[in-house]
């Protein structure tokens, strides 16, 4: 509207001469200058009498103009902006200028603005898209390709795959580092697998050797047991026949000698049997089950000291928890330890044997204590060695295998054996068992 009012003022100012001198041609020429303003669709000059003096465009009919000049000012009429501008010269009104502007021009301007805005927005989007395309090509794509390669590597465990390097930028650097890492892993895998193969081969070879050795040992044991026992049976058998059937023909010295022969042969038989038991224990695989230890100890005591020759041993049975182990092997441990305690305290006036256990850092320690002959601790290192004895056969019978078997069984179960002793004061034997135990059985004290 302001624009229209300015145009109106300019045209009105220019038109004063044309109106003053009633020059129609000049007026027409002035109005024709409105061609430069395409939104002005009509313009007219009225003279001081209100007669339409000149009109623009010149070919438009008089019907298109108001019949006479209206009050000064502009207003919207029928989608047009129109109004009147008095033509004044020296404070005298010479006439009135009528101007009609098409609102389309304003709309047109709005449209232009809108178009410009849209264009800017589209251009921004376009450039953003282009930028992202370029960035994607340079950064995202290589990174995604790298990620894809990493996925392939981790999914297929194929470390021979390499990422493709696309440039010498930071991403290229990352790709190089990634490939280097893969190469390292591949190399390490190769080394590891070679090592594993080598190890497996060695294990197989050793296992085969071990199996052969074990077979040989079995055959050896069988052969000892069979071939050594048979002649021994002959010796003992015929010496016995001599004693039984020919005793009347033998004098006392001859009888003493046959007795010695028989005893030695019997001892040799016992040695063979113990040696075989020891070697069998070494070869046997342990098979773990739950062992009701208290009941086992009870049964072993009954077996070693049958009810009728109870003697005067005082038994003190403490807390003995159940354990998991090879039932036959563990029974053998108790048999050997308890029979030792009975044997070595037999000469005491009031023999006492105490059996119990205590727990300490993730293991259970069982013990068998007696107040028998004990031993000198300087021979401690010989105690658990096979065929090593601290007493002569005259004092106490034995072959020196029992404690060696105990040691072997306990070490096979992952435990340890040890002993304490004082000469003529008694001995204490301990064995530890790594904790894998079930609940403690009831404390029980038995006096037999």
């Amino acid at each position: 509207m302001e624009n229209l009012s300015t145009i109106g003022k300019i045209i009105a100012a220019n038109s004063t001469a044309a109106l003053a001198f009633d020059n129609e041609g000049d007026a027409k020429e002035i109005l024709a200058a409105l061609k430069a303003e395409p939104h002005i669709v009509a313009a007219g000059l009225y003279d001081r009498n209100g007669r339409l003096f000149s009109r623009y465009p010149s070919n438009s009919g008089p019907d298109a103009f108001p019949t006479g000049p209206g009050p000064a000012g502009y207003q919207f009429m029928h989608a047009h902006l129109e109004g009147f501008q008095p033509v004044v010269a020296e404070k005298r009104q010479l006439g009135t200028l009528y101007l009609k502007s098409d609102l389309g021009a304003i709309y047109e301007r709005f449209r232009v603005y809108g178009f410009l805005v849209a264009l800017v927005v589209i251009l921004s989007f376009l450039s953003a898209w282009l930028l992202s395309k370029i960035l994607q090509k340079n950064i995202s794509q290589p990174i995604l390709a790298l990620a894809e390669t990493a996925k392939v590597v981790s999914d297929q465990k194929d470390y021979s795959v390499r990422a493709i390097k696309t440039g010498n930028d930071e991403v290229g650097l990352l790709t190089d580092a990634f490939n280097y890492m893969l190469a390292q892993i591949q190399e390490q895998n190769r080394t590891l697998s070679n090592f594993t193969q080598d190890l497996e081969q060695r294990v197989r070879r050793r296992t085969a050797q071990w199996e052969v050795a074990n077979k040989e040992l079995e055959a050896f044991s069988y052969s000892i047991s069979h071939d050594l026992r048979a002649p021994l049976r002959g010796v003992i058998g015929f010496v016995t026949i001599l004693e039984d059937d020919y005793s009347s023909k033998l004098d006392d010295e001859a009888k003493r000698i046959t007795g010695i022969i028989k005893n030695n042969a019997l001892k040799m038989g016992q040695l063979i049997d113990d040696l075989l038991a020891f070697s069998r224990m070494g070869r046997q695989e342990i098979e773990k089950t739950n062992i009701p230890t208290l009941a086992m100890v009870d049964a072993v005591i009954r077996q070693i000291v049958p009810g009728n020759k109870d003697g005067n041993i005082q038994w003190v049975i403490g807390e003995i928890p159940d354990i998991k182990g090879d039932i036959n092997a563990i029974r053998q441990v108790w048999i050997n330890l308890i029979s030792n305690a009975v044997k070595y305290s037999a000469n005491k006036e009031a023999p006492q044997i105490e059996i119990g256990s205590f727990g300490r850092d993730a293991e259970t320690v069982f013990f068998v204590k007696d107040n028998g002959v004990g031993f000198d601790e300087k021979y401690l290192n010989k105690l658990f060695k096979v065929f090593q004895r601290l007493h002569s056969a005259d004092e106490f019978e034995g072959t020196g295998v029992g404690l060696a078997i105990v040691e072997k069984i306990i070490s096979k179960h992952g435990g340890k054996v040890w002993a304490e002793g004082t000469k003529n004061q008694g001995a204490r034997f301990y064995f530890s068992f790594p904790d894998e135990r079930s609940e403690f059985s009831k404390q029980d004290t038995l006096n037999r």
Partner: protein, 147 residues
């Protein structure tokens, strides 16, 4: 001895063991109808009436018990046991394995093959004598043989 009246067939290559066994059985009058062969081949000939025994005895007159050692030259005890237990004519014959060793890896095999008993000969003569005496009483007097 009439081969048809044999009640105990002792298959034992060790003559000392054989003598001790026979001597012990004799003590209780259980060795009157005992026949001793020294290897598996002779045992099979006796049992199946072949070789030296063809025509001299008939299979109907079977021994009451066969005392069979395992370790023997030529044909061992396991093979003899297998032949006896796989033949329908001799399958019901009681076979007692007598061996020197309890280390014997064949103990399970013997039972699998159908051995009726498996005895380890003790080194201790008193126990050996008791075992033989028990064996004799059990198989010759107590046990009812299949008809």
């Amino acid at each position: 001895m009439n081969p048809n009246s044999v009640e105990v067939l002792l298959v034992e290559d060790n003559i000392t063991d054989a003598e001790l066994t026979i001597r012990e059985l004799k003590k209780y009058n259980l060795a009157n109808n005992l026949f001793h062969v020294k290897d598996g081949e002779a045992a099979l000939d006796f049992i199946f009436c072949t070789g030296p025994f063809s025509g001299t005895r008939t299979m109907q007159h079977a021994p009451r018990v066969i005392l069979l050692d395992i370790q023997m030259p030529k044909v061992n005890g396991i093979e003899v046991l297998e032949k006896i237990k796989s033949d329908p004519r001799t399958r019901t014959l009681p076979v007692v394995i007598l061996t020197s060793s309890k280390e014997d890896p064949d103990i399970k095999k013997c039972y699998d093959l159908g051995a009726n008993s498996y005895i380890v000969k003790p080194v201790n003569f008193e126990r050996f004598a008791a075992a033989i005496q028990n064996l004799g009483y059990y198989w010759l007097l107590l046990n009812q043989r299949p008809i």
